[in-house]
Structure formats: C-alpha cells, structure tokens
Amino acid sequence: MNYTQKLQANLLRNNLQRYPKSINKLINLRRQAQSSALAQLNLQQGLKARVDQLELMDQNYLKEVVISKFKHTIKPQKLNLLERKQNQFNQLIAKAKSQTSLATQQIAIKSKYSKLKAIDIEFFSGVLGPENIIQEHDEIKPYNIDFTKKYVGQCSLVLTPQNEKQIQEILKYCNEKKLAVVPQGGNTGLVGGSVPLQDEIVISTKKLNKIIDFDPITGILTCESGCILEVLQNHVKSFGYMMPLDLGAKGSCMIGGNLSTNAGGIKFIKYGSMHGNTVGLNAVLPNGTLLDSTQGLRGSQKGFDLNHMFIGGEGTLGIITKCQILCHPLPTSRQVSLIASDDFEQILACLRHAKRELNDTLSAIEFMDYESVKFSLDYFKIENPIRERNYKYYLLIEASSNSCQDQLNQQFLEMLEMMGEQNMYQDAALCESESQIETVWKIREGISMATANNGFTVKFDVSLQSQDFADIIDKTQDLIGSKAIMIGHGHIGDGNLHLNCTIKGFDNKELLKELQKQLEPFVFDYINDKKGSISAEHGIGLQKVNYLPQSKQKEQIQYMKMIKNAFDPHGIMNPYKVLTDL
C-alpha cells in the first residue's frame, strides 16, 4: 500500500463510526473500485501506467471528501500534512505526464507480461554469451528511440543473437516465461513499430548479417535477415544484378525489417512488392519452432503460403531469420530528368505520358512539392538543378534499360521534346552524367532525413489516387494555417503519398500533439472518402493501430486476430502493435 492508501485507511478507520451509513457506503465503494483498478495495473516503472494509476485515484477525493469531511476532527498539523501530500501528488502527476512518450492513443496497458528477473538474464547470458547482452543504459538508448524521435521505450535489456538457433532458444524461453519481446532490425521504421512501448525485451537481428549465397543464373539471393540493404545491393551489383527494392534508408535498414513491413520504395513501380520478390524465408515462432522454406527453388511453395503472413506481419507473428530474394538484372544505362511546373495538371499529364512512352524502361517516377525539395536542398547544401526560379511541383523520372547510354539518352530526350511541344511542363532539366543523376536522387531520397533533422514531424503515408495529391496538401495546409509546414512527396506512379507536417526543433511537444489531433481525423476522413488507405508502405506499427479498423473490413481483422492468436497464444511478439484488443 502506498502513502495515500495508508492515510485514507487510517483516517477512515479512526473516524468511520462518526459518519452516516450512506457516506460510509460511498467511501467504501469508492475505495473498493480504486483498489481493484490498482490491482489490475502492474506497479511497474512504466510512466504512462503511473499516470493512469494516479489519475485513477482521483486526487480530488482527498480534498473534497476526506479533508472537508474530516476537517473538524483533524488537528491543524494533520490538515497541513494532507494538503502537502495533495500538492506532492499533483506534482508527481505533472512530472509523469511530461515524461510520458507521445503516443496519443489510449493504449490498454497489458499487465499479463512478466517482469524481467535476474534468472532470466542469466539464462540469456548462458545461451548467447555475455557479449550479446546489453544492459547499460547509454548503450540501450538507441534501441529505445525510433527514427522520428517520437516513440521512446523503456526496455532494459537488448539481446543480439548471432544465429537462428539462438533465436529459437531465447524465443522459446520468453514464450514460456511470458516475457514480451520486440524484434528490431535497422530501427528505421516510421510508425513506432520497431521500439518497445514499455519494457519489452529488444531482440536485435543485427548480428545475423551473413550473405549465404547468390545464384547468378536464377538471380536468387540467400541471406540472413540482419543484412543491411545497401550491402546486399552492392553485393549483387558485382554480379550485374539489383535488389528489387530501394529506399532512402538503405544504408541502415535490414532486409528482415523490409520484409516485415512489406516495404515498397522507389523501385516498386517496376518490380512490385516484397510479396512477389520473396522466394522463401525462415521464421522463428514464439514457441521456438523454425518454419523453413528456403530450401527450394522459385515457385516451389505449395499449400498455404505461410511466408506471406510474415511479410507485412511487422514482427507480431515471429522473427524472420533468413530469406531468399529474387534479384533482377541490373540495367546497364539509366537516365534521369527533373520536371517542374506550377500547374499540377501538367505533372499528371507528364506522369501519364511517361508511363505510356517509356513503358518498361520506366524504373521510377517520384513527385516532390517545393517545400520538400527546399528542405533537402538546404540540408545537403546543394543547388536546385532547375535554378531559374522555384516551381510548386517537381517530378523525377528515371528510365533504365540495357541499350547503350547514347541510345537511351536519345529516346528520353525525344520523349521530353514531345512533351515540351505539347506543353506538358514549364521547365525540365536533363542529367548529363552519373554524378548529376546521383545528385537528383539525393534530393529525393534525402527529404526524409532532412525533415527528421529539422524537427518533429507528423507523418502520414497514404494510398491515394495521384489526382488528389496536390489537393490534400493544399487542404491540410489551410487547416493548420501558419503553425507548421505541410510537405508532400512520394511514389506518384503507385499512388503512394508521404504527407508530412513539420515543425522546427524538438522542444514544442505541445504543438506536435495539437497538430496531430487536428490533422489525423481530417486526413483519415479524407482518405476514407476517397477510398484510399491510411498506410501505403510504412506499415501500421504503433502509430496507426487505432485507424486500422477504419480502413480494413471488420471480418478481415477478426481473422487476422485469430491467426495472431494461433501463432502467438501468449501475445509476446511485439505487443501493442498492428492489432489491438486481442
């Protein structure tokens, strides 16, 4: 029992007989309600839990009922003591609130998980070796904070297993002891899915970084799930192949995470999703079972293809440990052009024309508005390739093929000439060297980093028809006025827009919350009206848990929950993410 409870109990015991029965009843009922609620909650270090705990106690109860009722019986010193305790409580609540993580949804705190004990740490140490256990606070910090700096966990133990077998052993143990775990790869996720909410154990796959095999005839790459995407890209490049996906985070993200979130990226328009490009994968289930499908050739998956559960499963069904990715021959030449216009209709005309004319040589088509480009240019300190003046909208078009560079350049130039004659753009720059191509891509790929470094960002990753891109950016900017800047950029060829609201600096959490409250319902209503999706490629994670039911059929979610309970009956895999109310 804590101080207040003791105090209450004492006061009530001492003065109970002086009160009319009805008030006693009220006091009793209230006491019962509070203590049962308290009992439900774990007295854990989670600060959110502490806030709820304190709020449940209805601090005003002290003032209104106890003090006012007992005033004539309590000695003045004791009254002061009560008032002081009251103030202390208020301070505690204020402090806890200011330190709480920024998840704005009401998340039901599960008390069904065990606390980490010394005996557990001993076990992990025995299985993994002491060098693969991280407990130091400073070392743990990066595992607890996500890329957007909005989600901060309180895990106190990070495990870095080195192979599949170790993962099997530790997961089996965690499942038996009901210890919640969060699988983590590169921790570049943008929806808070890769960091713990409370003190879940982080299992980092970073040491599973072996490239096992690459077959240059079939193009199938076999590797462990902790391999960094850029490393894999460079590896297959030496064979004249390319990975089927490419994202801005390639220098840090790991293929396991890419699979778990069914990552899209800039190559999506040509090579499709990870569902189509994954030939096989190994996943470890919470009960320690290894599901192995990396032994066969392409097209040998028969029966229910369980792999597709893990692709996009965001670590809630098991940990992916190995995978076989289908790689494609690397085109020998590529050419990039940056098109600019103040009129969004022109951008759409270019999109339609380029898709038709370039056909399968079109390897990427990306949309950026002026504000996104500006952030990127300022952050990297480079000049706008179109320097005469600034335009409202920019379109990056990339074509790649196996014809020689001059031929491709000729084709591309002819297309741009035709588009110019038909008045489809106001200005267009064409790259003349590989370095220029890399510069233009840097501008597009660096937008995420540039805005993340600028300050807090409210991020939306939506599926929307390309016609509505400019409209939603304008409408949301009108909504928030001059409080912040709305920026929009994304894979316009696939109808995937990254809509971000960014404020300067990391101090104004109040403004961030306010903007989130204003924008989320507006954006999600807009998306629902247009029959889009609230998450196109970033996943659900923690951020969109409460919005998933709005955009997915109720029955689908029901069956998803059944599958989750079948794979993970104790619910230890990445709790609170993707599905809620299990």
């Binding site: 052009s337 940056l338 390739p385 130039l413 110019g420 720059a429 064409l430 003349e432 060297s433 590989e434």
Partner: protein
C-alpha cells in the same frame, strides 16, 4: 571578347574504374562517358562571364573521335555559342598528351584570336594537370591556375584571380590574354535544360583533322603497364607486444 573553353570526354566520374585484361589501359568498353567535371566548371565560368557581359562569345573545343562531338553538344546545351571539333582516333586518355593538346589550343587561339582560354585544372582520366601551364608558356601569356575566383576588368584588360595553393589562397593579377585553369570551388555547374539541349542541335561545330593542323602531336611518354592499385588489407588487432613483433618480423618483414 571571345573565350575558348576546353572540354574533354572522359569516363564518368561515378563509374568504378577497371583495367583492361591486356593491362595496357583503363577498360572503357561500353561504359558511361561524360564531360570532365573540371571542364564543366570551366564552361560554367565562361557562361557566367558572358551572362555578366564581360565576354561576348564562348567557343567549346574538344579533341577526339566522333564521340567527342557529344561532349561539344553538351557544352552547347549548357550555353556555349559554337564548337570546334578536332578529329583524331588516338586514345585521348593516354596517347594524346598535354603537350600536343596545348599546341592545338595555341594554334586555335592564335588563328581565331581568342582573348582568354578557360580550361579545367586537370582531366580525371590522366590527371596530368599540365595543359594550361604548357599552353601559357607556348603562347607567352600568363596562366592563372587552380583558380577559385576570377574577376575580369574589361577596361584595363586585366584579371584578378584567387588561386588555391598549398598554403591557402593567393590573389594575383594577370594581363589579358591569359589562360585560366579551374579548380573545384570556382562555381557549381548547372544542369542542362531540355529547351537548351534542343537549341544546341542547331549551333555550329567546326570540324578539323588533327593530322591537318601541322602539329607534332606524337606522344612523348610511353605507357608501359597499367595496373590496379594494391587492395588495401584490413587491419588486425594483436593480442600482445610479442605477437606484434613476430608479425612485423615474419609477415610484414619490416624488422
């Protein structure tokens, strides 16, 4: 005033360099070629001077086989007024050397009376860093090399140049006509605009044959062998001083 700008077609800066199997040179087969990055800076500077009204005409010159015309087209697309293409089938990354190149430029400057010549400080394929200096010497005119800032005084036919040297920045004054060679921080080259690329197709390019210019362009240096540099070995952490000594003695053989 007229300016002559030298542009060279080289292996693209971002492409990984490989040696050909005969070890006689770099493998250029089917790889992407573009304008030497320092020449891009030179063109940009000349165009800027014309936009500022300091000079009235910018002519781009390139020496090489028919592909060199591509590089001249690129220079025209960036804003040059006309081009000169000196035809030759020699390997321009090895066999056509700075002395010969400087002689070609000298002949052009004398015959066509250019007031200044802007070159990149070196080309990224041979890295000689000699053409500008030799050119100035042949013509008996000043050469302001490693320029990071050029200010032309038209009235007095002078130029003030800030040069990047080992010990910092040096400011010099040269009389025009002069040769300028450009360093990295002189400016940021622009991207070619689609409209200007289309317009560039109509600009004139004069073609000459290297053999007809009456110049001794034979290479003075013979390339014996071209090799990749030694692969950098990873470092090794040793456990004790004894181990270090034994490694230095037996493996590295330095003591």
């Amino acid at each position: 005033m007229k300016a002559l700008v030298g542009v060279k077609r080289v292996l693209d800066y971002a492409i990984k360099v490989r040696v050909n199997p005969q070890k006689t040179g770099v493998d250029l087969q089917g790889l992407k070629m573009s304008m030497n990055p320092f020449d891009e800076i030179a063109i940009e500077e000349a165009i800027k001077m014309r936009e500022a009204g300091v000079i009235q005409q910018v002519v781009a010159l390139s020496i090489g086989d028919k592909n060199a015309a591509e590089t001249i087209r690129q220079a025209l697309a960036l804003g040059a007024d006309s081009g000169i293409h000196v035809q030759t089938d020699l390997r321009i990354d090895q066999d056509l050397q700075p002395l010969a190149v400087a002689k070609v430029f000298a002949k052009m400057i004398k015959e066509k009376q250019f007031d200044l010549c802007v070159l990149g400080k070196q080309s990224i394929d041979d890295d000689f860093n000699q053409t500008g200096q030799i050119l100035g010497s042949i013509l008996g005119i000043p050469s302001a090399t490693f320029s990071s800032k050029i200010e032309i005084d038209v009235a007095n036919k002078k130029a003030t140049v800030t040069r990047e040297v080992d010990f910092g920045l040096q400011k010099i004054e040269v009389q025009l006509p002069a040769v300028f060679t450009c360093d990295l921080r002189l400016n940021t080259p622009r991207f070619a605009n689609v409209q200007s690329i289309i317009k560039a197709k109509k600009k004139p390019i004069e073609v000459f044959n290297l053999a007809d210019l009456g110049i001794d362009f034979a290479p003075r240096l013979k390339v014996e062998k071209v090799e990749m540099p030694q692969e950098r070995q990873g470092g090794v952490i040793v456990g004790s001083v004894d181990e270090l000594i034994s490694k230095l003695k037996n493996e590295a053989k330095v003591i």
